[in-house]
């Protein structure tokens, strides 16, 4: 049973048929190990090379600057641990933001255990990092800055190019987690001024379990996975050839239709935001009103809790999420929402609806139709509701 309305594209996207078709030969016939010198290995190697060229070209990079990984999390870990360990001699201070994905956030916390000092920059109520605060946080021993390109929960797009400009002349590495932007908005490593950039295939209609890290040439990085000489010694392990071909194919398709898809999504997004804000009282929009991902809508509904909202939506055929899908196992409200200054009980009532390339006006109409009733019903069940409405 497929949900009729899938609105959780920030969690993962359905793989495109064209991507599957591109992968299939490398799952079956061309099964060679790309490190082998005989014909069937060379076929795999060619596919790998072509995929690397494609990804590099799209990002404005060189082929040898692309390292394929098992996903966004590995790319983030490789970037941050790899850069931090390789710069040990130079310093031990890292700057990041309070709203990073756990793959960056937890990795920085982990490094604190190993003698690194990390500054977690606060963000504005709209989830913006102030480039000035990055500049102000720099110390002589700062070796790395990691600020995400766009936030996965609230959709706010960060001023990466501005931060890149501040860091350009300094010998501080700059990483951005672009998992939510690559394939959705233009991403060019030169324009952003980054040394390291993470992406993940399944966020743009490619396969799960494959990602990439851009590593600007000359950037020293310690491998996370040691072993064979794959990926120019920066990432060991037999390459996921089919996955890599799938990632490159999906990225090419996403970039080709990006402008059109983004414009359509922005329209639907804005309609959804406005209609919900006007029809459902005590509702807040999370994230920035305009500097946000084309497909991201994030609300907090006061007096109710997110999971029960999701279950109700699921029963109506609407798939959505509350906070990051990755963290749904935890009981703590999202650190991103708390960083916006929201009190705990309001952060618990968050709903993220993320649009995709197939999302239609009808889908959005259905949500607008169904959502107010569900919220109202849950509020009526909530012991917080009555009291507060009286107070207001």
């Amino acid at each position: 049973m497929k949900p009729q309305i899938y609105l959780d594209h920030a969690a993962t996207t359905p793989m495109r048929r064209e991507v599957h078709e591109a992968m299939e030969p490398y799952l079956l016939e061309h099964y060679g190990n790309p490190s082998s010198i005989y014909e069937i290995g060379r076929q795999a190697r060619k596919a790998l090379d072509a995929s690397r060229d494609a990804v590099a070209e799209i990002l404005g990079a060189e082929a040898r600057e692309i390292v394929f990984t098992s996903g966004g999390s590995e790319a983030d870990n490789l970037a941050i641990k790899g850069a931090a360990l390789a710069q040990r001699g130079k310093g031990n201070h890292i700057i990041t933001s309070a709203i990073e994905h756990h793959a960056v956030y937890d990795t920085c916390r982990y490094l604190e255990k190993y003698g690194y000092n990390v500054t977690f920059l606060p963000v504005s109520a709209e989830g913006m990092v102030d480039p000035g605060s990055v500049a102000a946080a720099i110390r002589p021993e700062t070796i790395l800055v990691s600020i995400m390109h766009a936030n996965n929960e609230i959709g706010t797009i960060q001023p990466i190019a501005q931060i890149g400009n501040i860091l350009r002349e300094k010998s501080i590495l700059f990483h951005t987690d672009a998992v939510q932007t690559v394939g959705h908005v233009p991403v060019d490593v030169g324009e952003l001024g980054v040394d390291l950039l993470s992406l993940s295939g399944h966020k743009f209609y490619g396969p799960k379990g494959v990602g990439a890290l851009y590593i600007k040439k000359g950037t020293k990085i310690e491998p996370l996975i040691h072993g064979g000489a794959q990926e120019r010694q920066r990432r060991a392990g037999t390459e996921n050839v089919a996955g890599i071909v799938g990632l490159a194919t999906a990225l090419r398709l996403a970039v080709d239709e990006m402008e059109e898809t983004a414009a359509r999504q922005r329209d639907l997004r804005d309609r959804l935001i406005e209609d919900v804000l006007t029809t459902v009282p005590h509702t807040r929009l999370n994230g920035h009103r305009t500097q946000r991902l084309p497909g991201n809508v994030s609300f907090c509904f006061e007096y109710i809790e997110g999971e029960s909202l999701l279950l109700n939506l699921d029963m109506r055929g609407i798939a959505a999420s509350s906070g990051s899908a990755c963290t749904s196992g935890s009981l703590e409200p999202s650190h991103v929402l708390l960083a916006l200054g929201l009190p705990h009980e309001i952060a618990h009532g968050s709903l993220r609806l993320t649009l995709g390339r197939d999302t239609t006006k009808e889908d959005i109409d259905t949500v607008i139709d169904v959502l107010p009733g569900i919220v109202q019903r849950l509020r009526e069940m909530s012991p917080l509701y009555d009291a507060s409405t009286i107070i207001r």
């Binding site: 007096y303 109710i304 809790e305 999971e307 029960s308 279950l311 029963m315 196992g329 009981l331 409200p333 009190p343 705990h344 009980e345 618990h348 009526e380 069940m381 909530s382 012991p383 917080l384």
Partner: protein, 129 residues
């Protein structure tokens, strides 16, 4: 993730609401953790004759609240006090491990409501005595 029983109670919660002139009220949880449960009881002859709830919380929190109201109506106060966390979860055909704390909330709120009733009664007796 959730059993059919949990989903049934979540979708069609029994005894939602307040009892205007309740004999006892109990609240458990706090908004920081994302779960608050409030439970009202009506008592006649040491027996719970009505029980209602309001809950802010996840699916499991709502289902356990609903479940406990069903379990408790008709029971004596002594019987009701013996309803364990485990019993609520079992009556729902189990809860996911991460959600087991929700069954605590419901049983604890019930206990608080009973205590509230008993202390009021004692207070009334003292006054009249």
């Amino acid at each position: 993730m959730y059993s059919d029983k949990v989903m049934d109670h979540f979708t069609h919660p029994r005894n939602v609401g307040e009892i205007p002139e309740a004999d006892g009220v109990g609240t458990e949880g706090n908004p920081v953790c994302g779960d608050i449960m409030k439970l009202w009881i009506k008592v006649e002859d040491d027996r719970i004759v009505d029980c209602r709830f309001k809950t802010f919380g996840c699916g499991a929190a709502i289902a356990t609240s609903s479940m406990i109201t069903e379990m408790v109506i008709g029971k004596t106060l002594d019987e009701a006090k013996q309803i364990s966390h485990r019993a609520v979860a079992d009556a729902l055909d189990g809860l996911p491990p991460a959600k087991m704390h929700c069954s605590n909330l419901a049983a604890d709120a019930l206990r608080k409501a009973i205590d509230d009733y008993l202390s009021k009664k004692k207070g009334a007796k003292v006054k009249h005595g």
